[in-house]
């Protein structure tokens, strides 16, 4: 198992803030919009340097999506910022018509995604957003795993023409990807080569997949670990190549098991060469109030859940 260490933990939303700050300095077309969550989205540094390129919308997310669509018509590259729930479910039709169907170059940046938002509870813990966004024709869906990757993704999407959903979170998590790693939209990142089982993880579950890989190694199981930061377009080739080698797969995500990463993996498999797959995901339920750690434990999203899923997947191999 390849060694992954970290010296620092940070929240992925701070990676977004850092990326936005850099874009403010390098790309004059980038503008930012926020629906009364500037602090939570870490947009303060961008605003300080570029007050004329920031639009405070107030608590009006539908209006924010429309204004963002309109700004693109003058050649701007708008980054909208609010919680994942208010970035997607609350404004699905605005995104659908004014952004996706209209093919507008809006970057929908969503923080506090998933259970790890914690104590605020299920009203704010969206677990359906990846599914909603990936179903929209033409939408790119990105869910990076740590501070460095979120910063890199934030910067990279400015150079891509088209609507993007960028999902990140609230808690501090280990920084283990290289600060200088180039972010390539739609390209899976191989974290560890293995032979017995493929673990495909996204977002906060990537670090947990690495922890799971170490536990599996102690049990004599060799896990191949892939960081799939882009859910759409999906790197089908990398995923199928790995599973062809290992013969089974675990998908791991902080999302409902319906409609998320796992279903993208399953679709790739059933339309080519089926293989045993186990899901590590929330089992079609809402979340609740508690600490992020307690919630990840209760809803089955820990490294131990990945280990158990890997063992089940291996046992189902023909």
């Amino acid at each position: 198992m390849k060694e992954y260490t970290y010296t620092e933990k940070k929240d992925t939303r701070s990676g977004f803030g850092a990326g936005l700050l850099e874009l403010g300095r390098t790309n004059p077309n980038v503008v930012a919009l926020c629906a009364d969550l500037v602090g939570s989205l870490k947009m303060g540094d961008f605003i300080k340097e570029n007050p004329e390129r920031f639009f405070q919308i107030g608590i009006a997310e539908a209006n924010m999506m429309g204004i963002a669509a309109g700004l693109t018509i003058g050649g701007k590259i708008p980054y909208t910022g609010t919680f994942a729930n208010f970035s997607t479910g609350r404004v699905y039709d605005q995104i659908r018509q004014s952004i996706a169907y209209s093919n507008k170059n809006v970057k929908i940046c969503a923080s506090h995604a998933g259970l790890t938002l914690g104590e605020d509870g299920a009203t704010h813990q969206i677990l359906e957003d990846i599914g909603m966004m990936k179903m929209l024709p033409g939408m790119t869906v990105i869910n990076p795993c740590d501070y460095n990757q979120t910063k890199a993704a934030t910067i990279a999407i400015a150079d891509y023409e088209g609507p993007v959903y960028l999902r990140f979170g609230r808690p501090v998590v280990p920084i283990f990807t290289p600060a200088d790693q180039k972010f390539e939209i739609g390209k899976a990142v191989m974290l560890n080569e293995g032979t017995d089982v493929t673990i495909i993880a996204t977002g906060h579950l990537v670090w947990k997949a690495i922890l799971a890989g170490k536990i599996l190694e102690e049990k004599g199981i060799s896990a191949e670990i892939i960081n799939i930061h882009t859910i759409k377009p999906f790197d089908t080739e990398a995923v199928l190549k790995s599973i062809a080698k290992t013969g089974c797969v675990v998908s791991a995500e902080e999302h409902n098991r319906i409609g998320g990463l796992g279903d993208s993996v399953a679709q790739a498999l059933v339309t080519t060469k089926p293989a045993p797959q186990e899901y590590v995901a929330v089992n079609d339920s809402f979340g609740e109030s508690a600490t992020p750690e307690e919630l990840m434990e209760k809803y089955g999203l820990t490294e131990n859940d990945i280990v158990a899923a890997a063992q089940r997947a291996i046992s189902r191999k023909g």
Binding site: V31, E52, A60, A69, G75, K76, Q97
Partner: protein, 285 residues
């Protein structure tokens, strides 16, 4: 510079031609929305043949041009006819309205690349926000041209409209001229029956808009109001025109009722309508 800059007499002729297009388009596919289209014909003809500065050489970013957004996308027949007659695309293409593989979708979209259309609309309540964004982009770009947007009055029942209505005055989006097609009708009946709009002037004034009122079916009244609206831009307030129109205007049996909101005329009704919309038939598409 408006590429046509027509006189009132010429505008009336053009409006009559556009109305012929509308009834023929919806008749041909037995679907579409003639009522609101006929009511808003004089407004769209005024913008595209007299008031707005634009080029028919379509560029999405529209830098240096006045922009128009149609928020109540169901009145696509009038929009398509006016765009074609203004020179954005060949009028013959109006015959493809609502047919398979057409750029003239039931509701307007950028998806098929139709020149003149900058946003998809149809799901109501979104156009004012989009227009505000486009207007703010113009300010960032140092572009002093204007942004126009048309909404239906029933559309004001959508909450997003009021989010946008609160935002524009707060942010002094004063390069924006919004218009409400106040025909008093929506699908299920009159706006007063379905969900009364109340005193729209007082409502928009309370939100901080510069409110004007006009008759949208009289060029003699409408053109001076549009001039007045233009003159009021750049003064710190967004402008909204409450424009009274009659649904179905120009075709007597379609007027005064919500019944022709989304119904096409049959063969016989089409003939009667065309007789009332006298214009040189040689210029029909």
């Amino acid at each position: 510079m408006n590429p046509h800059n027509k006189s009132i007499e010429e505008l009336k002729q053009t409006a009559s031609q556009v109305r012929r297009d509308i009834v023929r388009m919806v008749h041909a596919v037995n679907s579409g929305h003639p009522g609101g289209s006929l009511g808003c014909t004089d407004y769209l003809v005024s913008l595209y043949f007299k008031v707005m500065n634009y080029s028919t050489d379509f560029k999405m970013d529209g830098k240096g041009e006045d922009l128009f957004f149609l928020s109540n996308g169901h009145i696509s027949p009038v929009f398509y006819s006016v765009l074609a007659r203004a020179g954005y695309f060949d009028v013959a293409e109006l015959a493809t309205f609502r047919k398979l593989n057409s750029r003239l979708q039931g509701h307007p979209t950028t998806h098929e690349g139709l020149p003149g259309v900058r946003i998809s609309s149809g799901s109501l309540g979104q156009g004012l926000s989009v227009a505000i964004g486009a207007a703010q982009a113009k300010k960032l770009n140092g572009d002093d041209s204007l942004v126009y947007v048309l909404m239906g009055d029933g559309e004001l029942e959508e909450g997003q409209v009021w989010e946008a209505a609160m935002y524009a005055p707060h942010n002094k989006v004063d390069n924006l001229i919004a218009t409400v097609d106040r025909n008093g009708q929506q699908i299920d009946g009159s706006t007063e029956e379905v969900l009364s709009l109340g005193d729209l002037r007082a409502k928009f004034e309370a939100f901080g808009w510069n409110v004007m009122e006009t008759n949208g079916n009289s060029f003699e009244t409408l053109l001076p109001t549009l001039d007045q609206a233009k003159a009021a831009t750049g003064q710190g307030k967004p402008i909204i025109i409450l424009m009274d129109t009659e649904m179905g205007f120009g075709v007597d049996f379609m007027m005064g009722s919500h019944k022709w909101h989304g119904v096409a005329p049959n063969d016989e009704q089409l003939e009667i309508a065309l007789q009332q919309l006298a214009v040189d038939v040689a210029s029909d598409y």
